[in-house]
């Protein structure tokens, strides 16, 4: 029961983040800036929940994001799965209680997802200098924000789970 609840809670939190991020992006749009913080959707689920839970959260979040975007349905799913695979591969090396490790994982995951999305969706734009200039500016602002936000966000998610009496901190030893 607890397992189902944590999945639902994290999914809801992801939904909230998605909504908030869109509002911020709407404000940034006149400046031609765009925040991509996909790592925030995945990091907690992949690092602190079980593999199948993380998978399900990643899968549903990706579909939720893809549905409203002009991309082939499933692009985010594939990218999130690839990120998941990489994170799972590093799970033993990553120390989840070490903030620096978390920041690093978020940083690389986000970079990988943004780059992957550009390569998969960019098609005819990849040869354009302007495209990469815009990509770099979006990447810079996203990564900068991510570094400041990720620890707070992970903690916030843990706190939210605590509201449902789920203490993922004590479960860390399982991994």
């Amino acid at each position: 029961m607890n397992e189902d609840r944590r999945t639902l809670v994290i999914l809801a939190v992801n939904g909230l983040l998605y909504f908030a991020l869109n509002q911020v992006n709407a404000v940034l749009a006149p400046l031609s800036l765009h925040l991509s913080l996909d790592a925030l959707y995945l990091l907690f689920a992949f690092l602190y929940l079980k593999t199948n839970q993380g998978l399900l959260i990643g899968f549903l979040t990706a579909l939720f994001i893809d549905a409203a975007l002009p991309v082939p349905f499933g692009v985010h799913t594939i990218l999130y799965f690839c990120t998941l695979a990489a994170l799972l591969r590093m799970r033993r090396e990553l120390r989840r209680d070490n903030p620096r490790h978390i920041v690093l994982a978020a940083f690389w995951s986000n970079f990988f997802i943004m780059l992957g999305l550009s390569l998969l969706v960019g098609k005819g734009l990849l040869a354009q200098w302007d495209f990469w200039l815009r990509f770099c500016s979006d990447l810079a602002i996203s990564q900068l924000l991510l570094i400041f936000l990720v620890r707070w966000w992970v903690d916030a998610q843990r706190q939210v789970l605590l509201l449902w009496d789920i203490d993922v901190g004590s479960e860390l030893q399982q991994f």
Binding site: G15, F19, N22, Q23, N25, A26, A29, P30, L31, S32, L33, H34, S36, T51, L55, L63, F64, D66, A67, A68, L69, P70, V71, F73, G74, T77, I78, F81, C82, L84, A85, A86, L88, R89, L117, S118, V121, G122, G124, L125, Q128, D130, F131, L133, R134, F135, S137, D138
Partner: protein, 279 residues
């Protein structure tokens, strides 16, 4: 005996399995899932927009009675001016129809419009789109032109039950027929990547070599009715420089678009008469 997959390769095997499963899923399933997910989140955007409206309305309540009276008076004046304009337009329409009949000309395409609020904006380097609060139920067809007071906004790309997705004119995937002011020859306009902290831009191509623009006298690029989607003469942007291609056949340039295009709150969808649903 079943051999256990080594721990290190487990994620890769898992990834491959998942990807294969996803790829093998039937397209119908995917398209239904997509529509379902979209419809599922649509209320979220509409609610957010409604909250924003509510906020705006509460902000308006903060105005004094005197301000409201004055605004009401100004509005009434504007309304009468518009009434007058509407009458003029009706008279002109009648005159146009009369001339069309006399000269046996095919009638110009006419549109009805639906005003729609923007409920979501997605403007990244990868895509440029808006979600508006009108959809299939309001008679919005796919491919309809979307405009605002400053000119062209884009075109309807997807229609859902009560929301639609508009591909913005700034999107690299958006292309339309256009022409310069006082020059009927069609040219191609296409969206381009917008650079940070700068006005939205596009690309104009296939411009005949005899079209002249200078930085001091930029020329307005407007929609062309020849494309069959947009009515004639809606502003797309301004071009202040054209470069001739090495083969000398065409010129190309970068029109500058209105900055408001990236922060629109309300747009109008033009529905060709005879194709749209009931308002």
């Amino acid at each position: 005996m079943v051999r256990k997959i080594p721990h290190a390769t487990k994620p890769i095997v898992l990834l491959l399995g998942l990807l294969l499963t996803w790829l093998l899923l039937p397209a119908v399933f995917k398209s239904y899932s997509r529509a379902g997910f979209f419809e599922f989140q649509a209320p979220l955007w509409v609610t957010a927009a409604e909250f924003k409206n509510l906020g705006d309305s509460w902000a308006l309540r903060a105005h004094s009675k005197k301000e409201l009276y004055e605004t009401g008076r100004d509005l009434a004046r504007l309304n009468s001016a518009y009434e007058l304009k509407l009458q003029e337009i009706d008279a002109l329409r009648d005159e146009l129809s009369r001339l069309e009949r006399i000269l046996v000309l095919p009638s110009l395409p006419r549109f009805q419009y639906r005003i729609a609020r923007v409920v979501r904006r997605d403007q990244s380097s990868w895509w440029q789109q808006l979600v508006i609060q009108k959809g299939k139920l309001h008679g919005i067809p796919v491919g309809a032109a979307v405009v605002y007071s400053g000119g062209v906004v884009g075109r309807i790309r997807e229609v859902h039950a009560y929301t639609s997705v508009v591909e913005l004119a700034t999107s690299p995937g958006f292309r339309m027929a256009a022409h310069f002011d006082n020059d009927e020859r069609p040219v191609t306009y296409q969206g381009a990547v917008n650079l940070p902290f700068s006005s939205p831009r596009g690309k104009v191509m296939n411009v005949p070599p005899d079209v002249v623009v200078t930085a001091s006298v930029p020329r307005r690029l407007t929609s062309s009715r020849l494309g069959g989607v947009f009515p004639d003469g809606l502003t797309i942007g301004w071009v202040n420089r054209l470069t001739t291609s090495p083969d000398g056949l065409f010129q190309s340039g970068q029109p500058y678009l209105d900055k408001n295009l990236l922060s629109l709150k309300e747009v109008a969808v033009l529905i060709p008469l005879g194709t749209g649903g009931t308002p």
